[in-house]
């Protein structure tokens, strides 16, 4: 346990030493909420959104954005870099299993995602009066399911790309369509019917919908939960199968 804590702390330190990614993961989603929340009309209830305000929706979207950055942009690059540079191979010669190092990385990603999410929720609540998730248990469940689904995809990418650079590129290419379906540019509520149907089957579309369910007081819907578990199982298994230590 002591070793795991130390590995996690080391991974956190290394993460914070990359100022650009640390800024984006920890503060950019909050910044997005602040910018959108500063537009007066986004703070007015809208009939198109069923009486919700734009800012209400974007708090959930910002949480999905946090998870997307951590799982799709950062995780594959770190994993592939460690493999490419022999960090994991070196660890395999010590009493500490490289699996523990991967666990420490997941813990580090989890911690940064939770901190960023807490910041988004706090600013949304304090600055713009966005209510905290009415169904808190549901919110936690939606958060965990979404994180697990996208991290499985991220680890899969990290397992199959040849280098850290390639991991970064593939992550960035995936990031934009995934975030599109999460409603970063057009919230799900105002998407055309066809897009909405597609979005329901994408990991972050499903994740955002589940998060939004919880924000408005219900448990995550069954379809979204099933889709997310599906991504976790399929990509998680594939990542485990295809992963090489060196």
């Amino acid at each position: 346990m002591r070793v795991f804590a130390k590995l996690t702390l080391t991974e956190l330190r290394l993460f914070l030493r990359e100022p650009v990614s640390a800024f984006f993961v920890l503060f950019f989603p909050t910044l997005l909420v602040i910018i959108l929340g500063s537009i007066p009309s986004f703070r007015e209830p809208s009939a198109d959104l069923g009486g919700a305000r734009v800012i209400d929706l974007y708090v959930g979207i910002a949480v999905a954005l946090t998870l997307a950055m951590v799982a799709i942009q950062i995780a594959p690059a770190v994993l592939a870099t460690y493999r490419e540079r022999g960090v994991l191979r070196r660890l395999a010669t010590t009493p500490v299993s490289p699996l523990k190092m991967l666990g420490a990385q997941l813990a580090m990603h989890g911690i940064t995602a939770v901190v960023s999410t807490a910041l988004v929720l706090a600013v949304g609540r304090l600055a713009f009066g966005v209510r905290l998730a009415e169904q808190f248990g549901g919110f936690v469940l939606a958060f965990v399911l979404t994180a697990a689904g996208v991290l499985a995809i991220g680890l899969f990418v990290g397992a199959v790309v040849p280098s850290g650079k390639a991991g970064s590129s593939v992550g960035t290419i995936l990031f934009f369509p995934l975030m599109f379906f999460a409603g970063l540019w057009t919230p799900r509520e105002v998407m055309p019917e066809v897009l909405r149907k597609i979005a329901d089957f994408t990991p972050l579309g499903a994740g955002e919908r589940a998060l939004n369910d919880a924000m408005t007081g219900s448990w995550p819907n069954l379809l979204s939960a099933t889709v997310l578990v599906g991504y976790l199982v399929v990509f998680g298994l594939a990542a485990v199968r295809l992963f090489r230590w060196s």
Partner: protein
């Protein structure tokens, strides 16, 4: 006591056979070298011993256990070729982290002093020179106070001074009772450090002996050069059974021969009251032995 036993090791990667037939044993407390040209199968052999790869055929025992036995990780320290650390980790953090993996780690402050890293503790990995990275890698292999240290291409990338310092360190580690398995393609290093050597070429052991045994096994000629204190008749030297030929280069005399050439020539000179000034001996080196051994097997 045998600490490493390799018998009939074979390992192929697809069609390419990296190791064909390698057997040797390493005794406790010795520095055992694996010498060979690039691509000879040295690294594959040590990776199998370190438990990173599974052999296709043959058996390996390390401290009486199978190489992938997880308890060996506490007793075998490994320094791998081309294995790096994250860019932004500092020397202190890396040492502290790796020390926490072991129940009874070495004092890493003392290690860094011996390896000349004491003033680099706060430096991040990416800012270290090639030699400093190499020395940190050696420190990490030794930090668990291992019984066996496996060091792959130990001094590649080090400058001559750092190389000599590292050799001193390896000798002092051996003196503390650690068995060392050293992979190298660098003759001077093998000759200076190793008690015994396995020369590997094309995936096979072509010779297994002490460095001096390998050299004397060559039975090559020796070359002696000197300037006599007064003129001397060639016949005086050519009469000696050890002497094959005598050549003159201005004032210098070059004597080529075998056996105990030096003793034969100098005692003859002494009897005739001639002093040999600027005396130099050229002997076969491990280099010669190595070239001879590896070129022979290359023709097969």
């Amino acid at each position: 006591m045998t600490v490493i036993e390799v018998r009939d090791l074979r390992k192929a990667y697809g069609e390419t056979v990296a190791v064909r037939d390698v057997s040797f044993t390493v005794e406790a407390g010795e520095i055992f070298g694996i010498l060979g040209p690039n691509g000879a199968g040295k690294t594959t052999t040590v990776e199998c011993i370190a438990g990173l790869r599974r052999p296709d055929q043959g058996t390996i025992h390390v401290l009486g256990r199978e190489p992938h036995d997880s308890t060996l990780r506490y007793e075998v320290g490994v320094q791998l070729q081309e294995s790096q650390l994250p860019d932004k980790i500092s020397v202190r953090e890396a040492l502290d982290l790796y020390a926490s993996f072991y129940p009874d780690p070495a004092d890493w402050r003392a290690l860094t002093r011996e390896l000349g890293l004491a003033d680099k503790l706060n430096t991040r990995y990416v800012k270290l020179s090639g030699g400093q990275k190499q020395r940190l890698s050696i420190a990490l292999a030794l930090i668990g106070s291992p019984k066996i240290a496996i060091l792959d291409e130990l001094t590649t990338g080090l400058d001559p001074q750092a190389r000599r310092d590292t050799w001193d360190l390896i000798e002092s580690i051996r003196d503390s009772g650690v068995t060392i398995l050293l992979v190298t393609h660098f003759m001077e290093e093998a000759e200076r450090l190793c008690d015994r050597l396995a020369v590997i070429d094309h995936g096979e052991v072509v010779a297994l002996d002490t460095p001096s045994g390998l050299i004397s096994g060559l039975d090559t000629e020796q070359r002696l050069r000197f300037r006599p204190s007064r003129p001397l008749d060639d016949a005086l030297l050519t009469a000696l059974p050890e002497v094959r030929s005598v050549k003159r280069h201005g004032e210098q005399i070059e004597v080529i021969g075998t056996g105990n050439l030096l003793h034969a020539v100098t005692s003859t000179l002494a009897v005739n009251q001639i002093i040999a000034a600027e005396l130099r001996i050229e002997q076969a080196s491990l280099d010669d032995a190595f070239v001879r051994l590896t070129s022979r097997s290359g023709k097969e």
